[in-house]
Symmetry: C2
Subunit: 254 residues, 2 copies
DNA sequence: ACGCATTTGTTCGTATGTATT
DNA sequence: TAATACATACGAACAAATGCG
């Protein structure tokens, strides 16, 4: 047993992290920096292993976790891709509203408003903005096509931080075809990775009732959503009112 | 192109399954058969590898998936355990109701009813029972302790298949301390692994309003839950009405 | 208090299978 | 057919946590 070898008692408390976790952080940093765009391939596992100086298996484990979190998508034979809100399968990934009968039918959109303004105190707090900083407010309806015409089901009221969303206009929203989150990725380099929702039952107020074509006082689902990017900072605050007469919010527990 | 070599065009669709998936199925079968009880250790990875005649790494990957699904729980240095609804951390795992301020405070229970009867058609259908088969209905309130006394927040109305829950009585529910799902595990060998919920906003009816101490017509969250066991058969149908004035349903999207 | 055995956690390496281009 | 990429499987070694003697 070597006698004079101790030295270097590492703090061990905050210092330690498994290699694959460190690799995972590096991958996330590259994603946050925009080095790899949503929908595109990232370098192969062997390439990344070489870049980081670790084995392929270690890179693999890091990617495994990111794939489990829906940040990356693996495709055998093709490569590993940055997840996007564009693909059919993950489109409207965050929308849990389902028709009571059958699958997730397609929804129409109707833009009501899009304006730039100072963020209200509460919004600023949740989006981690400095008081008085700019924000963009968007309001819209989602409607289901029915024999008799379009029936409104969702009234969304959302807030975005002004800086990254500079240039977001009603016109741009109006002309965009496809999911809004896809627009955010493509035009403003903001990709939503995860979100937290607070759900309650509320009574429809005057304006809301009119927009959703229900009687005032009708019970509605209030869904307050805070969405986060790669670096886990909040980038969207959204409040949706769902009319749940023939739709429901679907959730899976495990 | 070889001419006379075709033969054996395997369906290729259902036939193939990776080794670790097969191991996973075998583990689930043992769990469903009650070979290992909730809260107890399962054999070590090397032991299982020997039993199934595969490498430790293959067993590991199977266990990894079951751990990700909250079926098993790994504890370094101790072993791998069968998940239970008993531990502090996973207690009320399926209850997403949170006070608007602060963490998940403790809730009081008040049993309203527990009776055996033929399952109504709709219940029988969802629980995959034969028409007219026995079922157990349980009704209860969950209440939050407040300075002025207990305030009702949840009204649960649930249905269980009669056969596995033979012997479930009001008395047994009454005297039980701890989560109901834990009682089901311990006394009836039924462990809930996952659940599907349908959520809507409804207006309080007469009886419900009285039970929850709100005015009739008050918007309530209706949470319809179908719970499943290891073998993925439905074993509980529950309809909860949540009063969301100072609580909300919390959900995480990713 | 110390060391040892057990068990899961991490890391590497290698070989082979399967999907895609 | 060949090259590339991810997927599966095995083996080995060491680290870290736990429990016991």
């Amino acid at each position: 047993m070597p006698a004079a070898a101790p030295a270097l008692p590492p703090p061990a408390a905050p210092a330690f992290s498994p290699l694959y976790q460190q690799i995972k952080s590096l991958l996330l940093k590259s994603l946050a920096a925009g080095e790899w765009q949503p929908g595109r391939v990232i370098p192969s596992e062997v390439e990344l292993a070489a870049r980081f100086g670790v084995s392929q298996g270690t890179v693999r484990k890091a990617i495994d976790e990111l794939a489990a979190e829906n940040v990356l998508v693996r495709r055998q034979g093709k490569g590993t891709f940055v997840a996007t809100h564009a693909e059919q399968s993950t489109q409207y990934r965050f929308l849990r509203l389902m028709p009571d009968d059958g699958g997730p039918g397609t929804l129409q959109r109707r833009l009501l408003e899009c304006r730039r303004m100072r963020a209200p105190a509460e919004v600023a707090r949740l989006l981690a903005l400095k008081p008085g900083e700019a924000a963009v407010q968007v309001r819209r309806l989602l409607l289901v096509p029915e024999p008799e015409g379009l029936r409104p089901v969702v009234f969304d009221d959302l807030w975005l931080p002004g800086t990254p969303f500079k240039g977001l206009t009603a016109e741009r929203l109006q002309t965009w075809r496809g999911p809004m989150y896809r627009l955010f990725e493509a035009e403003f380099a903001v990709h939503m990775v995860r979100a937290e929702e607070k759900i309650r039952a509320v009574a429809a107020g005057g304006e809301e009732a009119e927009l959703l074509a229900v009687a005032p006082g009708t019970p509605l689902l209030s869904v307050e959503r805070l969405s986060f990017t790669y670096d886990d900072r909040p980038v969207e605050l959204r409040r949706g009112l769902y009319h749940t007469a023939s739709h429901h919010y679907r959730n899976e527990l495990n």
